[in-house]
Symmetry: C2
Subunit: 346 residues, 2 copies
């Protein structure tokens, strides 16, 4: 089935220098994937946190007015740690905003063999507007023609919205603004028009966290929204579901690798197949996940028991999947397409 | 300032026959407004509830398979009344869906004088798909050329999304599906393109319930979303804000009548002015509301202390505003545009 690279984890926080002074990199994970010239590029989510003593509540944020990253010290009589990721206001201070413990941005890593990566020292996309003051997270990359489209979560006190940029050279990018309103996550754009429309899977954060499918004439404006897939009721998908990387075209249908979490936030990966002519139709699904957290770097880390993919690619019958481990590091592996299709129930 | 019609309330539930057998009409409110031929048309939200004994938990829903409205009896060991509007699962039954106590749909009322209305006996738009199983609510009507566009809240276990249809005759309509993902409400579409794009105000339901502004090439697909107006911190707007009817073009700017609620869900109406060439720019706002719940039919009803408008029109210097009262009945009144503009602070 799924074969982990023996070099895993491929990238860990210790090998990355922070871009902010007096910060430490606490995670490098959930990377988008692009094939560019002869390279495999990972568009890494790097999370940096201010260096602080154990009981200091220091939080980072991007200050739009000065266009710099600042640190705020929270008053521990008003704030408490929600989990490793966030500080929330204590009872009686509900009008205060939540803060994240780290700020994320996107950084590039290049490889010739898909295993060994050279990480650039500068950010590729750093928070730069008022909807990104808490960070930019979990990019996905869809190549359409010669253009690479990158969408990502934008986090701010306004919630989690979805931004879109395009690049042709991975040096500069064009900004298309916010394509999905808060709260929405796990957006993946299909790599071509189908019957005249672009399609995207996405997950608005409502009471039940289901996947939707939306259409667009231009990748920037989205509508014709339809409910796509409800979270399940089995041991691995009774929490929520969300798309992984952009759908991959195969002879049999659109292959979508997706994550599901159980009620305890344990994340696994499964796959489904959509009709080539009508991607709103699911024609097959793996009954059980093909990847569950089992390796030490998946079981332990910033957020334990998480495997979370934002990108993969198909060569002949082999799917190469990169995935974030425990919200801390990046790993990869391969699985055969035939094997996945054989394990689908219609 | 605002002068209530002396005939208020103009329409109350007692004068309307339900369309469902063994139901009662509990509210007729929050109507969109259209000028059609020589008529003023109100596109009423009518709410009907199953007749039930005091302690019976009977809830209505639209059953898509049979295309009929059905009644479900909830088990009172599993459900409790949240408020007059909804039954929610008791602790320990969190996986069960919430239900509404009534089902809403849209019905037309015609008038020659804007005061006395003839209400049609059949629905104009009744729930008909899986995103509308709990009802269709709070329509807004924007006339563009000779076409009337109606958007409305669609309510279902998937949350509150926004649907769009168009009509030219108020007899049949064309369905454009869902234009905003859940949860979103209070969408108003501007009546013409501005610099090549359509615009709409809307309110995604995030932690802080603010207003956003979005752009579209075709009214169906929306993007370029931007935060527009945060809820305030004064006695009347510290809960949430949302647009009223579609913006009205004036020589001085786009006039937007909007509602604000305080933390106790007391709803008032205010006004703001947007730049004609760039509706993302607010150039004036009334400091205090021009309409607060004071009349008996505003103070008492299904949901007390609510005035909520979905439509108004301007003739010479006079704005005629129709508004829902206490989620139960419909009233109207007038205010001079000059008066509103004079009361705006920049």
């Amino acid at each position: 089935m799924f074969i982990r690279f023996k070099e895993n984890p491929l990238i860990t926080p210790t090998e990355i220098k922070p871009v902010n002074e007096n910060y430490k990199v606490i995670g490098v994970f959930n990377a988008a994937v692009a094939k560019f010239k002869s390279y495999t590029i990972l568009i890494l989510r790097v999370a940096e946190a201010p260096q602080a003593k154990k009981n200091e509540f220091k939080v980072p944020f991007f200050d739009v007015a000065s266009q710099t990253t600042k640190i705020k010290s929270l008053d521990d009589s008003k704030y408490e740690r929600k989990d490793v990721r966030a500080f929330i206001p204590k009872k009686g201070f509900d009008s205060l905003p939540t803060f994240l413990t780290s700020i994320s941005y996107l950084r590039l890593a290049y490889s010739n063999d898909g295993i060994h990566f050279k990480i650039l020292s500068e950010p590729f996309i750093y928070p730069h507007n008022s909807l990104q003051t808490y960070g930019i997270e979990d990019a996905r990359c869809t190549k359409i023609g010669s253009i690479y489209y990158l969408n990502f979560s934008e986090v701010s006190p306004q919630g989690v919205s979805v931004g879109l940029v395009s690049t042709q050279n991975f040096k500069s990018y064009k900004d298309f603004g916010t394509i999905f309103l808060p709260d929405n996550k796990d957006v993946v754009i299909f790599p071509e028009k189908i019957n005249g429309s672009y399609y995207a899977l996405n997950r608005p954060s409502t009471a039940n966290n289901n996947m939707w499918i939306s259409k667009s004439p231009d990748l920037i404006h989205w509508g014709e929204h339809r409910l796509f897939l409800k979270s399940g009721n089995t041991y691995w998908d009774n929490g929520r579901v969300g798309a992984g990387g952009p759908p991959i075209k195969t002879d049999n249908g659109w292959l979508v690798i997706y994550h599901a979490a159980d009620v305890n936030d344990r994340y696994c990966l499964g796959a489904m197949l959509l009709s080539l002519n009508d991607p709103t139709k699911i024609i097959g699904r793996t009954k059980i996940p093909f990847l569950e957290p089992k390796a030490p770097y998946e079981l332990k880390g910033f957020l334990p028991n998480v495997v979370f993919t934002c990108g993969s690619f198909l060569e002949k019958d082999q799917i190469t999947i990169y995935y974030g481990c425990a919200d801390q590091s990046i790993a990869g592996g391969t699985i055969s397409l035939t094997n996945i299709l054989n394990n689908m129930k219609n």
